[in-house]
Symmetry: none
Subunit: 193 residues, 4 copies
């Protein structure tokens, strides 16, 4: 990468990081482009060299952050050492829940975007051989694969929606208390498939 290219990437990353801070502390609506560039220490016009508008940046940020979460789960959940598909998926989901619990600001930012849609994007970006879990999906026969996708979808949507409420509002109970029920529910769902 040339020095110019490098500098460009730095500027963009800088803007995204700054925007994340502001979005999470003041909300998207109350954050102006002026706020972002001022804090990022670049000129206003520079913003428009990298993003169409505030919402463009926001969208890229959501995808980026959600991807990081899934990525991290695949790399640190230790699912590979486990045998059954149930155990593997549970391990991955637990890692995600753990990340979110330790970073409620990120959870609030992502809102309910911990969803199949984002997961799918990550899945498609990932090359074969990268993750055993993904490879299993990829190598399955078409009909079987569809079934597995639906199963995965169901589990992810449940985890995403439930974690939001449980972690951020403690309703109807805290994560600690809810986790066993969630585990049982996920196992039950997977058993039903």
């Amino acid at each position: 990468m040339g020095r110019v290219e490098e500098n460009k990437l730095l500027k963009q990353t800088n803007l995204m990081d700054t925007a994340f801070q502001l979005f999470t502390s003041q909300g998207l609506t109350k954050t102006s482009i002026s706020d972002i560039v001022e804090r990022a220490g670049v000129a206003k016009g520079t913003f428009y060299l990298y993003f169409k508008d505030k919402y463009d940046l926001h969208e890229k940020l959501v995808v980026h952050k959600a991807e990081q979460i899934f990525q991290h789960a695949l790399e640190h959940s230790g699912y590979e050492a486990l045998v059954s598909r149930e155990d593997k998926l549970l391990a991955i989901m637990d890692d995600i829940l753990f990340q979110l619990q330790n970073n409620p600001i990120l959870l609030r930012f992502l809102g309910k975007n911990i969803s199949w849609t984002i997961f799918h994007k990550v899945f498609e970006k990932t090359e074969a051989g990268y993750s055993g879990f993904f490879d299993e999906l990829r190598n399955a026969a078409p009909s079987e694969r569809k079934r597995m996708e639906i199963e995965l979808f169901t589990v992810i949507e449940l985890v995403g929606a439930a974690s939001y409420s449980v972690i951020l509002t403690g309703e109807p109970v805290g994560l600690e208390e809810y986790l066993p029920y969630l585990h049982d529910s996920i196992r039950a769902i997977m058993a039903s498939f």
Copy 2:
């Protein structure tokens, strides 16, 4: 209700209906108070007699619409004729899914607000005796009741999140195809409790 009171309610309802149209067609951010009052045919100042600001109106609208959905499900799902708790809850959820499928605009507006939080508000507003389903919850012993709430929470969050994706984007499959899996999943979840 006096004629004056009636008139006030009319104005407010008018504003809310108009706002719903605009919010669903242009989005919350791109809808201004000017837009709303202009289309509603009232003066700008009038808006402030009924709502604090745009967000106040929006919030009231979300709660109102979500309540209507739950209300409708309690009144038209025919759950009372069924025997098992599983069957009752499934009937209620199916009614909600049916409403949302027939009104994707409403679904998009509510976003992922078909959730335990809203359900809880409806539950608390409802007097004893109104719904057998709620009464069962109310009359349960504390520990048992908590367990039932968690169960209900799990089911509602799953249905809310999954229906959003399935109905609005058709991902990973359409509602038609997904429904059997969802039914099985819900039954499995409830069995696990």
Copy 3:
């Protein structure tokens, strides 16, 4: 007219007068809406209550000023006392030339808008009976009227274009020197019709 209506008209007139000053001294492009409202002593938003943008105001101003010129010529040229159509039209044109010569700023502002198009607008706004000159046109037989319109068009376009150059640049000669030639030309044109 109510007091509110009166006030509105005042605001609009004020904005137009101020804009005219700025347009003629700095040009349209270099005049900003901020400049106008600042000097007019009203808030920025007020501008948009009366005009769509700078160009909207400019257009209205051009029409308004050109109308005034034609109006003045009809009322002060004394054409009514004259007998022949040639003499009448010459008197009117002379009055216009006289106005423009005494107000080169206005002439520069109008540019080459002293034209048939504007004249026609004034003509159509004017009620029957208002001006003997217009009535003659109105009462002529269709074919005759068309011929008269073309004649009028030719004279006006010549006067408008020539006066611009002669008065503002003195090229190829000053108005004083040019006037006799112009008179002869107009008479010659009219004779040819």
Copy 4:
């Protein structure tokens, strides 16, 4: 011309051609230097190597295009074969009108710049001997020459202004219908001189 010089001229011509396209399709005000260089396929900085700013380019373009028109008329109107000064000038004016009628975009661009001012520039750029029509003017005695210039001025201004309205708006009649009247008027004007 060296290869470097040639290349420079190419770049400049390229920029002017591109600008003409944009000026005629979007107008001068709404065309930015960014627009021009982007479409011309050169870097922003390059623009400033050839033009001071947008208006500089525009002015050069107007003069250039108007010159082409007069040039073309002198070369293709066949005026040289004609005998009387009236016929010669009419032939030249007819050629100009023909060009404008076939290129209304150009006419709109030139606006009312088909005028004595531009004609004069062309005249002065032209060397003696180039055009018989110009030579006649050049060789006339001073007082006679002034008279001829005024005559020429009158005819050109009339043609420029009238053609603009007649060709672009069809008001008060189309060119076809207007032409005979215009011819008569020009002959009448010239006879009066």
